[in-house]
């Protein structure tokens, strides 16, 4: 932190959080301030640390599957997909075609649900009260499909290693199709409220700028990276679960500010609808579970598998010693890594911008702390 202060005024150290509505959970940020200007920050995290990686070493591969839902609990389906893919990689197997399509459908629905939660709370932080109700209204529809499919709304445990446990329910395709038909008009509705709103633009533009080079330096991925102009999405770069079969664009923007990240996420939701429509049309009869042994003992070895979660690159590094329990599971959490860039993004900005930047990073503390 710089020793000299602006205007030679007195420095103030302000504690923001851990119980603060705009920190989206239990994040504590110690702010060093000169008046309203931020001189530096220090994040204190770990309030939600549950030792997920330690738990993994004491469970079997299948037993650990539900635990991953509790990391990024607003995108539980994505967490589960990454974990299942990683273990399947170690087992050198692959889910059947039908299971892969169902996985894509649920994961994209989850991406929309996660982005909707981000949009609602982000707008609420900025001072727009209305969008949160709209967003939760549509998010409810997506969660309802999860609930009908597997009985849970948030911590879904939707996938199994090797495929799926449950066949889709009657009317699954109809529900997803109906969601797609309904949803695009709703995105227009949110954009009508926000995109050209003068207060919204004023609060977001040129706030929390992170250039493409800085993103790479900090390992920042996901919409934050794409808003800085890097056209990179793991679904395209290293397709998994059959994503290479779908046509969709990677939305990017150039400025890397909070407003651009907003635009990128809005466009991502539209692209998710595109994928959903293709996936529903692509859903053919077939088996939903690959041949995996009841007692899974992957051969000795290790693998790193990552997916494009709503927040960025979510990776699992799993080491197997040939026994029924993983020897080591490392989760590479996008939120944790992205949060590190907070300091760079808010230095020299105003306190109100800190709130905007925390919102735009779209962190989930359950994943930061694990």
């Amino acid at each position: 932190m710089p020793d000299a202060t602006f205007l030679d005024s007195t420095e103030l150290v302000l504690n923001m959080g851990p119980q603060h509505p705009s920190t989206h959970g239990v994040l504590r940020v110690i702010l060093k301030l000169d008046g309203e200007r931020v001189l530096g920050t220090d994040c204190v995290i770990g309030y939600l640390h549950r030792g997920v990686e330690k738990i993994a070493e004491n469970r079997t591969y299948a037993q650990f599957n539900p635990y991953v839902d509790r990391m990024d609990y607003v995108a539980a389906v994505s967490n589960g997909l990454g974990y299942c893919l990683a273990v399947e990689k170690l087992l050198n197997t692959e889910a059947p075609a039908r299971a892969q399509v169902v996985r894509v459908i649920l994961t994209e629905l989850n991406r929309i649900a996660s982005h909707l939660l981000w949009l609602g709370t982000h707008a609420l932080d900025i001072g727009a009260i209305t969008p949160v109700f709209y967003c939760f209204r549509e998010r409810e529809e997506a969660l309802h499909i999860f609930e009908q499919y597997c009985g849970a709304r948030l911590t879904t445990h939707a996938f199994r290693i090797g495929g799926l446990q449950y066949e889709t329910y009657d009317g699954f395709e109809r529900d997803v199709q109906a969601f797609c038909d309904m949803f695009l008009a709703k995105v227009d509705e949110y954009e009508e409220l926000l995109t050209n709103n003068r207060i919204w633009v004023g609060r977001l533009q040129n706030v929390g700028v992170l250039s493409a080079d800085e993103c790479k330096e900090y390992g920042v991925t996901g919409p934050v990276l794409r808003a800085a102009g890097v056209k990179w999405d793991l679904r395209k770069a290293q397709p998994y679960s059959g994503y290479e079969k779908y046509q969709f664009d990677i939305p990017t923007r150039q400025n890397g500010d909070t407003y651009d990240r907003y635009i990128v996420r809005m466009q991502e939701m539209r692209q998710s609808v595109r994928i959903l429509r293709q996936a529903v049309g692509n859903l053919h009869e077939g088996p939903i579970m690959a041949k995996v042994p009841k007692v899974m003992k992957p051969p000795v070895g290790e693998a790193y598998v990552s997916i494009e979660a709503p927040k960025g690159e979510l990776g699992y590094y799993i080491v197997s010693d040939g026994s029924v329990q993983p020897y080591r599971v490392r989760v590479r959490p996008p939120s944790f890594v992205n949060l590190q860039a907070l300091d760079r993004m808010v230095r020299g900005a105003l306190i109100a911008d800190v709130v905007a930047v925390i919102g735009t990073l779209d962190i989930v503390l359950g994943e930061v702390d694990r």
């Binding site: 995290i45 770990g46 640390h49 030792g51 990686e53 330690k54 738990i55 070493e57 004491n58 990689k89 170690l90 050198n92 790479k216 330096e217 900090y218 390992g219 920042v220 890097v230 990179w232 770069a237 290293q238 397709p239 998994y240 290479e244 003992k297 051969p299 000795v300 070895g301 290790e302 693998a303 790193y304 990552s306 690159e313 990776g315 590094y317 080491v319 010693d321 040939g322 026994s323 020897y327 080591r328 490392r330 590479r332 944790f336 890594v337 590190q340 702390d369 694990r370």
Partner: protein
Amino acid sequence: MADEQRPPDSESQPPKAPEDTAKPVSPKPAVPKAAPPPKPPAIMAAVLWESELARDVKEQFGDRLLAASTYLGQNFLLVKPEAAVPVVEYLKVEADFDYLVDITAVDWPKRAERFDLVYIVYSFARNERVRVKTSIADGFRPATTTGVHLTANWLEREVFDMFGIEFAGHPDLRRILLPEDWQGYPLRKDYPILQQDQRWVQENLGIESGQ
């Protein structure tokens, strides 16, 4: 995955590559028996990774590069502890591996070099991922990577927090997820799952039993 070419014979057990000797051995070596189902190998069935990049690294680092291997289509370089950061830097500067994905560790308490330190790097230009692995003894202080990748800061702090590996030259080596005065390193294998820092829990949370 797009960047990974699965070796054609990945189903069958490939011949033991020389670098296998450096791999962790599971507690029970496979007993040669006439049992019908073939037992999976007790060591990682990695094969030699042949590529231009691996040759370049070999040329640059000589015998400080112990092995270049591939397993399940994923490539990794096994290097001597002092070469880990130079290799990561070389990959960044010379080969465009400009994104440090992750740093983590694996504890093998029965081994002399107790910890595996793993760096995962990715190149946007090549769309390729490489792991750099090194084995270090307990108490060895590996050099920090923060001078090469800024993102290493928190990642190394987490490794320190969970494994007690101190990174020499790290600008801000504090615990990150656990409280600063917590005793013990939870992801070490000799730290049981139910263990807590009872004194810390009693003093800070006022829970008498410490659990």
